[in-house]
């Protein structure tokens, strides 16, 4: 141990010696506040001027190597001739040769320590120094799991809010990109960041989100969904009113559309508001493919949303109430397969749909090693044995399988869940009233969607309220050179042009020519 570093004593809180009277008061207060924290380290030492000092930190959250190499070296290398000068150069002149440190009152010390900061306490001093030397183990940036693309970027968010912010900042190199940070959760003190682009995002929206988030009083926020449910305007709706994504490019695109993003520390999902039904039916891949393919796939997706919601109900309604709709040959095939089945079509569909839901849930929860076995058993029982035993008809197996595949096409998982859930009441209506029941079910659903809003924006925008200019990214995926206007921009103060107007660009070109 180098002599010039002075005397040092220390170790874990439990092993600490109380022979340093002048600093004893401060440390005992800190120890009292942080009692029974076995990972707390109080490292006491004496400065060159025989002042009692202590470094207080949590072992797992701080970079101990840096504490040794940077903080202690900086303290002992400080150019001072007296104890008073030493104190002044640290607290007043801030001359410690180390970046990112702040002077805080001692009372704020315990919360800083548990947040992962290193605290320097000096005898007879009611202030403390807070060093930011984080060392949090987390996973590296990986590929997106739930929103994979073929041609798009392959980066996904991770659990660290700062890393996630850097992924977005990397894409939006403008000072107009603003971030606001707040802490939510009495015990977790989770860092929550609001992101928006000034001049594109409506101030009313920012204020609304800020107000909602600041009013949340909760003990802990362990995932973005904790905040998502607070942001819902209609909490009893099965439809998601907040979008979440693990893709930084999706968040950047949303910010460029004038929407607002919320990063929650500890969650790899970033929230985006407001959202409409049609936004939830868009996939990142739509914008990386050629627009013809993007449009085609988008139509397929719209079609399959209806299939996922209505196919079993249509089957029930047509076979039970409207067999005249089916061509006679097909009707004979269906009737023959249903001949041995003892249940009405509604019960049969319920058995199959609920079994399929159970299988799907089991496939998600069980360990991967036995997942295959469960899939085989499920396929065998449902696909073959149930038909052979005459419990369900082969036609129903086809319908349920097709519906299952259709439900996976919906890009947003929560929207898929809503559609899966709503399928059941519509099936009951189809079983009682046939196609009339389906029409009534759809009317109820439609009114609900019309009434639904996400942060004040109607959920069915741009279909109703009807915004013709926004259909270019809803009905089709228009080519990029055509998408000159930003969607959902009614506030005249905001910049609504993604690409300059033709006249403006021509004028610009002329000016450039003159300059040349």
């Amino acid at each position: 141990m180098d002599r010039k570093w002075g005397k040092r004593s220390g170790g874990r809180a439990g092993q600490h010696t109380d022979d340093m009277d002048p600093i004893h008061h401060q440390l005992s207060w800190l120890k009292e506040r942080l009692a029974n924290c076995s990972d707390l380290v109080i490292h006491t030492f004496e400065s060159r001027f025989h002042q009692k000092c202590a470094l207080v930190y949590v072992a797992g959250l701080t970079d101990q190597k840096n504490i040794q190499e940077e903080v202690l070296r900086a303290i002992f290398s400080l150019d001072a001739s007296t104890a008073e000068e030493f104190r002044a150069s640290i607290f007043e002149r801030k001359q410690l040769p180390i970046s990112n440190y702040a002077v805080i009152p001692l009372e704020a010390g315990p919360s800083s320590v548990v947040e992962g900061r290193v605290l320097l306490v000096i005898e007879n001093e009611q202030r403390a120094i807070r060093f930011n030397l984080p060392f949090v183990k987390g996973r590296a940036i990986d590929e997106p799991i739930s929103e994979a693309t073929v041609r798009g970027p392959r980066e996904a968010f991770i659990e660290s809010a700062d890393d996630n912010l850097s992924l977005i900042r990397k894409r939006l190199k403008t000072p107009e990109f603003k971030t606001e940070t707040m802490q939510i959760g009495t015990y977790t003190q989770t860092k929550v960041m609001i992101l928006y682009i000034q001049g594109l995002c409506d101030n009313e929206l920012i204020e609304m989100v800020r107000t909602v988030l600041s009013q949340i009083k909760i003990d802990g926020v362990l995932g973005s969904s904790y905040l998502e449910e607070h942001l819902d305007s209609s909490p009893f709706s099965p439809f998601p009113q907040v979008q979440y994504t693990e893709r930084p490019d999706v968040v950047s695109a949303a910010l460029l559309e004038g929407r607002l993003a919320i990063i929650v520390d500890g969650s790899p999902m970033v929230l985006v508001v407001p959202v409409t039904l049609f936004m939830l039916l868009q996939s990142a891949e739509d914008y990386y493919q050629r627009y013809v393919a993007g449009t085609w796939i988008r139509w397929i997706r719209y079609l399959f949303v209806f299939i996922s919601l209505l196919l079993p109900s249509f089957y029930i309604a047509i076979t039970t109430f409207h067999p005249e709709m089916i061509p006679s040959k097909l009707l004979i095939t269906i009737t023959a397969s249903r001949e041995v089945v003892p249940f009405p079509a509604l019960v049969e569909a319920f058995i199959m749909e609920i079994s399929f839901e159970a299988l799907r849930e089991a496939a998600v929860r069980i360990p991967k090693s036995i997942g295959q076995a469960v899939s085989i058993i499920g396929a065998l029982i449902i696909g073959t044995a149930a038909v052979q035993a005459g419990i369900v008809s082969a036609a129903m197996v086809i319908i349920v399988s097709f519906t299952g595949i259709a439900s996976f096409i919906i890009p947003h998982f929560d929207l898929g869940l809503a559609v899966r859930f709503l399928r059941f009441p519509i099936m009951i209506l189809a079983g009682i009233f046939g196609l009339f029941g389906i029409a009534c079910g759809l009317i109820l659903l439609y009114i609900h969607l019309i009434n639904l809003r996400s942060m004040g924006i109607p959920y069915l925008t741009p279909v109703t309220p009807f915004v013709v200019s926004d259909l270019k990214d809803t009905l089709i995926r228009a080519p990029w050179w055509f998408m000159r206007k930003r969607p959902y921009h009614e506030n005249e103060k905001l910049n609504k042009w993604r690409q300059p107007k033709k006249e403006a660009s021509k004028q610009g070109e002329e000016e450039e020519e003159i300059r040349d």
Binding site: F433, G434, L435, I438, A439, N451, F466
Partner: protein, 372 residues
């Protein structure tokens, strides 16, 4: 942020009334109309629709005099409470009755054609749940409902004549130009005018409209659009079935739809198309009921219409189920008095307009005298 979505835009007005106007004529009045006017049905439609449009025009003129106030609030200032409340009661009953009437027609149609074993009350109940939800949600929801299904319904309705094009007896088409029974055309126009004149209830909704100057423009365009849709379906029906058979069929439009064969996949498409059609009927019933509830809410000086929506929906369902015993009675009711009752109700705003105009003239002249 929310305020801009609370108003009804001229586009929404146009889309709703386009659906509203063609729906009952095509669904239930086609037979009666062709029975009266025969080949001159298109003339009846033209005369009737533009004649009927005069009723909403007078309503518009009255509403424009106090654009930010609801008629039910200021009506008594014009004619006095003793006359205002009985007249308003007639209007409430008229709209409630119209809603119940369309509901009954819809229920009879569903039960007769698609759900023969299902009890009437069950069909009415499930449909009334939808109506109650829409009415409770408010005027914006009803108008936006129409906006969302407008294009789908239009495409559906315009596809029907395209699909049956091959079946038309084109030689018959000359009769549309040389067969005019003016007495029948007159009766047909009277029927059409009563249906188009029902738009006079814009008087009660006027403060909800965002761009009030464009109200009549929207209504005129809605009339033109609905005429186009009605004629595009009615003319092929006559060209396929002839005027006699058309007037004797209970649901000629349904028979027309049944001419469509969608190849081998589906034998006929009528339940699917009727499901689309049902939405327009739903919007019409909801709007009638909403207007009745709105007038009642304002007459009782209540703040919110929501508490009344379920009760009034139940009342409407009750009237609908009990008003007549059979479909034949319903047709008789329509032929005997219902049209006249509608026309009288639609003319009530004209009375207010005349009284208001006279009073304002008298007021002006007395002011001038006082000044002099």
């Amino acid at each position: 942020m929310n305020d801009k979505y609370e108003k009804v835009t001229p586009t929404q007005l146009y889309m709703l009334f386009s659906l509203y106007l063609f729906t009952t004529i095509l669904s239930f009045r086609q037979g009666a109309l062709v029975g009266e006017a025969k080949f001159g049905v298109w003339v009846s439609l033209l005369i009737g629709s533009f004649g009927g449009l005069l009723f909403p025009y007078f309503s518009y003129r009255l509403a424009k005099r106090r654009p930010t106030r609801f008629f039910s609030h200021y009506g008594r200032e014009i004619v006095g409470s003793w006359l205002h409340y009985p007249l308003v009661s007639i209007m409430i009953f008229s709209y409630l009755f119209s809603a119940a009437f369309v509901l009954r027609e819809m229920q009879d149609f569903m039960v007769e054609v698609f759900l023969p074993d299902t009890p009437d009350w069950a069909v009415t109940s499930i449909f009334c749940i939808c109506v109650a939800y829409a009415v409770r949600s408010g005027v914006q929801t009803i108008f936006r409902c129409a906006q969302g299904v407008f294009f789908l319904t239009m495409i559906g309705m315009l596809l029907i004549p395209v699909f049956v094009m091959g079946e038309l007896n084109k030689d018959m088409s000359v009769a549309f130009l040389n067969h005019f029974d003016w007495k029948g055309i007159g009766s047909g126009s009277y029927l059409v005018a009563s249906l188009y004149g029902q738009m006079s209830f814009i008087l009660f909704l006027f403060p909800f409209f965002s761009n009030q100057q464009k109200t009549m423009k929207s209504l005129i365009w809605a009339t033109v659009t609905s005429l186009f849709i009605i004629c595009s379906n009615l003319i092929p029906t006559i060209l396929i079935f002839g005027p006699e058979l058309t007037s004797n069929l209970i649901y000629p439009e349904l028979e027309l739809i049944r001419y469509i064969r969608a190849g081998y996949f589906l034998e006929n498409l009528d339940p699917v198309l009727i499901s689309i059609w049902l939405t327009s009927l739903f919007i019409k019933i909801s709007l009638f009921l909403y207007v009745a509830i709105l007038i009642l809410t304002h007459s009782f000086s209540l703040q919110d219409h929501k508490p009344l929506s379920l009760t009034m929906t139940i009342l409407m369902a009750g009237i609908s189920l009990l008003m007549v015993r059979t479909g034949a009675d319903l047709v008789r009711l329509m032929g005997h008095g219902e049209v006249m009752f509608l026309i009288v109700t639609e003319a009530i705003p004209i009375l207010y307009l005349v009284v208001d105009w006279i009073r304002s003239r008298l007021g002006k002249s007395s002011n001038e005298k006082a000044k002099a």
